[in-house]
Amino acid sequence: MMDVSLPSRLEGIADKLNGPNTLGNSPAFWAAFAAGMVLMLAYPLVQGSYAAGQFSLFLVYGLLALSLSLIWGYTGILSFGQVAFFGVAGYTYAIVSLNLGGAFGQTVALPIAVAVATVSAFVLGYFMFYGGVRDVYVAILTLVVTLVLETFMAQTAGAEWAIGSVQLGGFNGIPGIQNFALGVGGASISLSGSGFYWFVLAVLLLTYLGARMLVNGKYGYALVAIREDEERTAMLGYNVKKVKLAVFTLSGALAGFSGVLYATWGNYMDPSVFTITFATIPIVWVTLGGRESLLGAIFGTIIIERLRLWFSVNASEFAIVFVGVILMTSVLLLPRGILPGIRDIYVFVDEHGVGEGIDRGRETVQARVRTLLDSVGVDVSETKTPTGSEEVTE
C-alpha cells in the first residue's frame, strides 16, 4: 500500500465517492462543489462571526436532513422519528454535560448522547423491522413515538423531575447548556460563532462524503433495491430486515449527532423538538431539495431555514404558511426536488438545446398547473368538456 502514488490513491477515493446512486459525479460537479465549499468557508470572514453563528444552525439541520435522506430517500423508509433521536441526544447531552460540568463533561457527554440516540434507533428499528412493520406504518409509529416523547417531556416540570442536578423543566426545558467544547481543563477548545460554524461545516462535509461512499458502495445497491422492491431484494438473498435496521440505526446516530450540535448551538433543550411541526420540517427540507439526493437534502434545508428565518423576522405569523406554499410550488414544478430537477433540466438542455428546453419547460409547467387546478375543481381546459364536473368527482 505504501508505494501507491498519491494521484492513484486519490483516484481510488474518487472511485468510491462517485457512482450511479449520486447525481453529481462529473469533474464539473466536483469543481462546482469545491467552489461552493470555498464560498462556505469564506462566509464567516465576509459576514462576520454573528451571522456565521446564525448560519451554523442550518448546517446542523443539514446533518439531520442527511440522516433522513439516507433512510427515506435511499432506503424508502419514511421516518418521522429523526427528530426523536435528535431530541433524545440533545436532552442526553444536556443532562450529562451539566451534571459533569466543564469541557471534560461535554467531551464525555458527546459520545454518550450519540450512543443513546443510536441505541434508541436500534431498539425502535428492531421492533419495527423484525416485527414486520412496513410502509406507512413505520411513518405512523415513528411519529407516535415522537409525540409521546413530547407529551412526556412537557410534563417534567417540578423538582421531582431531575436527573442528578439537572431539572428537566417541562415545557421550559433545560437552559444553560454550554457552547460546544472538547478536551480537558486547560487543553480544551470551546467553539462559538465562526469556530462553531467551521466545525459544523467540517462535520457535515465529512458526513456527506461518507454517505456518498456508502450509497455508491456495495451497500448502496442494497438500499436502493430495498426502496424499489423489498420482496424482490429479499428473494435475491439480501437480509432486508438487517439492512433496514442498520440504515435506520445509522441515520438515528446522525440525527443524534445533529441534536447534540443543536443543544450547544441554542444553549437549551426543550420539548418543542418533539412537536409535530418540528417532526414535519425535515420532511419538507428533504422533499424540496430532492430526497434521492444527499446534497439536495442539505440544499433544501438551507433554503427553507433561510426563508423561515426571514419570514419569522418580517412576517412571523405566516412563516409556516409560506413554507407550505414554497413546498407545494416546488413539488408541482420539480416533483423530484430542486437538485434532481436542475440536473434533469441541465441534461435536457444539453441534449436538445435551450430553445426546446424552454418550450418543454413551459409545456410541463402548463400541464402541471392545469392538473392541479383541475384536481381542485377549477375548469381550465381550453376545449370545454361537459363531463368536466364528473371527472372531478373521480
Binding site: K218, A222, V224, D229, M235, L236, N239, K241
Partner: protein, 257 residues
C-alpha cells in the same frame, strides 16, 4: 417446527433417492398451510429430483402459489417441513433459502424499474463473490438484453422484463429455480424465447419448478408434471399420461383445451 431428530439433515438429503441415479433436491413433508378455515395446502408430500424440469399445474385456487410461497419462505407452514439439498428450510428466512441455492422469478415482473438493465443485474451480483463483470456479460448475453444494458428497465417490453428478472434470478448461481407463470401475458415469439432460455439453463443442469397455465408451453419444456387440486396432489407423472388422465381432463384441462 423443530427439526425431527430422526432426520440428519446435514449429512444427507432429507429424503432418500427415489431410485436409480436420481437424487431428491427438494422435498416437502406433510406440508399444510391454513388461512383461517381455508386449507390452501393440505398435507402435501412433494418432491423434485436434481436436474429435473418439473411443471406444476392445476385450476385457480389449487394451491400452486401457496406451495411456491411456502418453498420460498414468503409464507410459513401451519404444519409440516421443507427440505432442500441437505438443509431444513422450514424455519429459514427467505434470504437464507436463497443462499441455500433457491432462486425465484415472481409471477408479475419484479424488477427495479428506476435502475438500468445492467444495474438490475448488479444488485444481486454485489453480494456474491463471483466475478461481477464476467457474469454480467454472460447473463446479458443469455437473456439477449446486451444491447439494452444501459436503458432504464422501465422502458423494456413485458417479455424483456420477464427475461431480465430471470437473468437477475440466475446471477445468484442457484441450484433450483422457481418460475411462477413465466410466459403469462406474452406473445408467441416472447414465449418461445423464454422456452429456449429455460431449456438452455436446464441443459446446463439447473433444476426447475415451473408453475404455468399455458399447456402448450408446458408440453414444450417439461416431461414431468404435477397436478394440484384443492391443496393436494391429484396426479403426478409424465406429461402424456397426465394429459390422457380423465380426472385431470375433467377438473383442469377440460376448461383449458
Amino acid at each position: 417446527m423443530s427439526i425431527p431428530e430422526d432426520i440428519n439433515v446435514r449429512q444427507k438429503p432429507a429424503v432418500a433417492a427415489t431410485g436409480g441415479s436420481t437424487e431428491t433436491i427438494l422435498a416437502t413433508k406433510q406440508l399444510t398451510k391454513k388461512f383461517g378455515g381455508l386449507t390452501a395446502t393440505d398435507n402435501v408430500d412433494f418432491s423434485v429430483d436434481r436436474g429435473e424440469l418439473r411443471c406444476l399445474i392445476g385450476p385457480n385456487g389449487a394451491g400452486k402459489s401457496t406451495l411456491l410461497e411456502l418453498i420460498t419462505g414468503q409464507l410459513s407452514p401451519t404444519e409440516g417441513d421443507i427440505y432442500f439439498d441437505g438443509h431444513d428450510l422450514t424455519d429459514m428466512e427467505p434470504h437464507e433459502r436463497m443462499d441455500a441455492g433457491i432462486s425465484v422469478k415472481f409471477q408479475s415482473p419484479h424488477i427495479y424499474e428506476s435502475l438500468s438493465v445492467e444495474q438490475n443485474l448488479r444488485v444481486p451480483l454485489q453480494r456474491t463473490d463471483r466475478d461481477i463483470e464476467a457474469v454480467l456479460e454472460r447473463t446479458l448475453d443469455r437473456i439477449a438484453l446486451g444491447e439494452k444494458a444501459d436503458e432504464p428497465a422501465s422502458d423494456l417490453s413485458h417479455g424483456e422484463k420477464q427475461r431480465l428478472e430471470i437473468g437477475m434470478a440466475i446471477t445468484i448461481d442457484p441450484k433450483f429455480m422457481i418460475l411462477d407463470e413465466p410466459v403469462a401475458g406474452m406473445s408467441v415469439d416472447e414465449t418461445s424465447d423464454i422456452a429456449e432460455l429455460i431449456q438452455s439453463l436446464h441443459d446446463d443442469g439447473m433444476t426447475f419448478l415451473v408453475v404455468e397455465h399455458d399447456m402448450e408451453f408446458v408440453r414444450k419444456i417439461s416431461k414431468q408434471v404435477t397436478v394440484l387440486n384443492q391443496g393436494s396432489i391429484l396426479r403426478q407423472g409424465p406429461i402424456e399420461e397426465i394429459e390422457a388422465d380423465e380426472e385431470v381432463r375433467r377438473i383442469y384441462l377440460g376448461e383449458n383445451a
